[in-house]
């Protein structure tokens, strides 16, 4: 009796689920996490809007005044009047809010809210602009995804006279047929690593990229399982989702670039190529625009911005006077960037990572539906995970790959869990075991010391994190109110609005 139980004991003990139930569960998870991500992205957008809105207002006033100067007063008069009235109202609202904050004694929690609500109208132009920019950025990601991937991964078309590659083309066609999508294009990367990825605009214009190592080292059923995973991901609409998520970063990048315009020469180039790419739609141009726009998210861009202030060092007297207005802009840009970095790293990163992992689990469940062969998928995933398996240039495209190990040796660790866009192979194998895969080893139980250490660690970390979040929230609110107020006052002063 004990003998017959032995193999059972080494197999993961998980509750059996059908792949339909697993899919339904992951779809629900997608909705929940998408909603959370959307909310957070909107909040970050609101923060950046506090600077972008005044900038947009200034731009709009300049254009309208220019129109009036060249004698198009008929066109410009009415919008100018409406905009002035609105700005005046906002100015009053912001002023009232500042007065209220400054008043002693403060009873914020009772009556601050109506003031905030009135003044928050000021964020609307910035957020609307953010939405439009996000849509444009999403289109750019959709349009350039395949081109960028093929270029950075140095992928090539499969050779028809090569038996393995011909077989792979067959497998892709079979799987696409089972998933009910048009057969995706196929590209090969010449590397001994094992991995596969999908890129493209939609399930109708998808490209599957497979490493040569996968062909050489996996057998037909394992290859089929991995391809099914990729094709299932394509069929579930992950390509569009990936573009939407990446577009959040590009849009934030462009908004921050907008703040940088006065202090960083490259910002003009970035905005220029973004506008050109939005009009032309050529993939290379779109890829370039994305790269240039996201430069603003790079901490190095802050250093570039402060270079303006060097003028004050070179010409102490005249330089200082000339640089003074820029100092405010540099400060505002630095504060905004700091906030956006903090939000992206500490708040947005986690739900975003979890959302993408949920999609991977969904793809696994759908792959099981397509092949009815969870065992092969487990074996194939183990094959990927046994080494460092992102091909050269794949670091920025990690999300598109079936599995992206986050440590150089390829093994996954809990400590790194939140950084990788794909779940650990052990976790995926455990879910596949729940869907019927046999011979999945139970996850090795951790030593007692690990639990003690992690409990103590989290007891210490939790209050620190709480304090950190409170600090970030406080900083955010202050920065938002004061940049919005300062920006609006400047715009109002320049264009003479009372």
């Amino acid at each position: 009796m004990t003998d017959s139980n032995l193999p059972e004991a080494s197999t993961a003990q998980v509750e059996r689920v059908s792949f339909f139930d697993e899919q339904a569960r992951r779809r629900r998870g997608t909705w929940r996490l998408s909603l959370i991500c959307l909310t957070i992205a909107c909040l970050i957008g609101a923060v950046v809007s506090s600077v972008i809105s005044p900038l947009l207002l200034g731009l709009a006033f300049s254009v309208l005044h220019l129109l009036r100067l060249v004698g198009l007063g008929i066109v410009a008069d009415w919008p100018l009047h409406a905009l002035s009235t609105w700005t005046g109202e906002m100015l009053a609202a912001v002023g009232a809010l500042l007065d209220h904050i400054g008043r002693e004694p403060r009873d914020n929690d009772v009556s601050l809210f109506p003031y905030v609500r009135r003044a928050s109208g000021l964020l609307v132009p910035g957020m609307l602009a953010g939405g439009v920019i996000w849509l444009l950025a999403r289109r750019m990601h959709l349009g350039s995804a395949t081109t960028t991937a093929i270029a950075t991964l140095a992928a090539r078309a499969p050779r028809d006279d090569d038996f393995e590659e011909h077989q792979l083309a067959n497998i892709v066609a079979e799987t696409a047929l089972a998933a009910g999508i048009p057969t995706p294009a196929l590209m090969i990367i010449d590397t001994p690593l094992v991995n596969a990825a999908a890129f493209g605009r939609s399930h109708e214009h998808a490209t599957v990229i497979v490493t040569r190592g996968l062909l050489d080292r996996l057998d037909r059923t394992e290859t089929q399982a991995l391809i099914a995973d990729v094709v299932a991901s394509v069929g579930a609409g992950d390509l569009a989702l990936a573009a939407s998520l990446r577009a959040v970063f590009t849009a934030l990048g462009l908004l921050l670039t907008g703040i940088d315009l006065l202090i960083r020469v490259k910002a003009w180039r970035a905005v220029g190529s973004f506008l050109r790419a939005a009009v032309s739609g050529a993939p290379q141009m779109q890829a370039l625009a994305i790269a240039r726009t996201e430069e603003a998210l790079d901490p190095d861009s802050m250093q570039e911005g402060t270079r303006v202030l060097d003028l004050a060092k070179r010409r102490p007297l005249l330089g200082s006077v000339a640089v003074l207005p820029f100092a405010f802009v540099v400060l505002a840009a630095a504060l905004q960037k700091l906030l956006v970095f903090l939000w992206m790293a500490l708040v947005l990163g986690w739900p975003l990572g979890l959302l993408w992992r949920t999609r991977r689990y969904l793809a696994d469940a759908s792959a099981v539906q397509l092949t009815r062969d969870p065992d092969s998928l487990v074996r194939a995933l183990n094959g990927i995970a046994s080494e460092q398996s992102l091909p050269e240039g794949g670091k920025d495209l990690a999300h598109a790959f079936v599995h992206a190990p986050d440590r150089p040796d390829g093994r996954d660790g809990k400590a790194y869990a939140i950084l990788s866009p794909t779940p650990s192979v052990e976790a995926r194998a455990a879910r596949l075991a729940a869907m019927g895969a046999r011979d999945v080893p139970a996850r090795t139980p951790r030593p007692m010391a690990f639990y003690v250490a992690s409990t103590v660690g989290s007891l210490i970390l939790a209050p620190l994190l709480l304090i950190l979040f409170i600090l970030i929230a406080g900083l955010t609110i202050n920065v938002v109110i004061f940049s919005a107020a300062l920006g609006t006052f400047i715009v109002a002063a320049i264009f003479g609005i009372v």
Binding site: F163, E174, A178, D219
Partner: protein, 186 residues
């Protein structure tokens, strides 16, 4: 009066949605059938090629070749009739399997490059047929559920939507194939 009009408008809108849903499902079934058709034709097209490369090696197996040829002719004759086609295809599949079993017994033929790629094509085609059949049957199930259930059945009866036949897997192909179809592993 106004509420009555509103109710009629709502019912009409609902009927339109139901009708469009039925049309979508029926088109999906037709498209899925077209996919199966493409793959079955692909298999039928492979047959002469296969026979040509095998025939020289085994002149004494006339009966097998004749069975394959007969099954292929029946497939081509069946056309778009799902039930007749399914039967003919099952027969062709079975005769191809017995032919490949013969190949299995001849090591030098089996190892030839031509035979390897033919086997891969056949294996892939069988997989595609299975995949297309699964997709077709899922589409049919969905369609038939929509046609058969209240309230879709009222709209379906009104506009002549009928349940579609499933493409049944034959008994022979349900059993484990005697031939190892998988091409040599890397």
């Amino acid at each position: 009066m106004r509420w009555g009009l509103l109710a009629i408008a709502a019912i009409a809108a609902y009927a339109v949605i139901l009708f469009n849903g039925l049309v979508t499902r029926r088109n999906r079934v037709r498209n899925a059938w077209a996919q199966i058709d493409v793959q079955l034709r692909r298999r039928a097209d492979l047959v002469p090629n296969l026979v040509a490369s095998v025939q020289a090696y085994m002149t004494h197996e006339r009966a097998t070749f004749e069975a394959v040829a007969k099954a292929r002719a029946r497939v081509l004759a069946a056309g778009g009739d799902v039930t007749a086609r399914a039967g003919a295809e099952a027969e062709l599949g079975a005769s191809l399997r017995s032919l490949l079993a013969l190949v299995e017994a001849m090591p030098d033929l089996k190892a030839s490059q031509n035979m390897l790629s033919l086997q891969e094509e056949l294996a892939s085609t069988e997989n595609r047929i299975a995949a297309a059949r699964q997709f077709y049957n899922d589409a049919v199930l969905d369609h038939n559920n929509a046609v058969g259930m209240v309230p879709g059945n009222l709209v379906a009866a009104l506009f002549g939507f009928r349940p579609e036949p499933l493409f049944e897997a034959d008994v022979a192909s349900r059993a484990l194939p005697a031939v190892q179809f998988a091409a040599p592993t890397a």
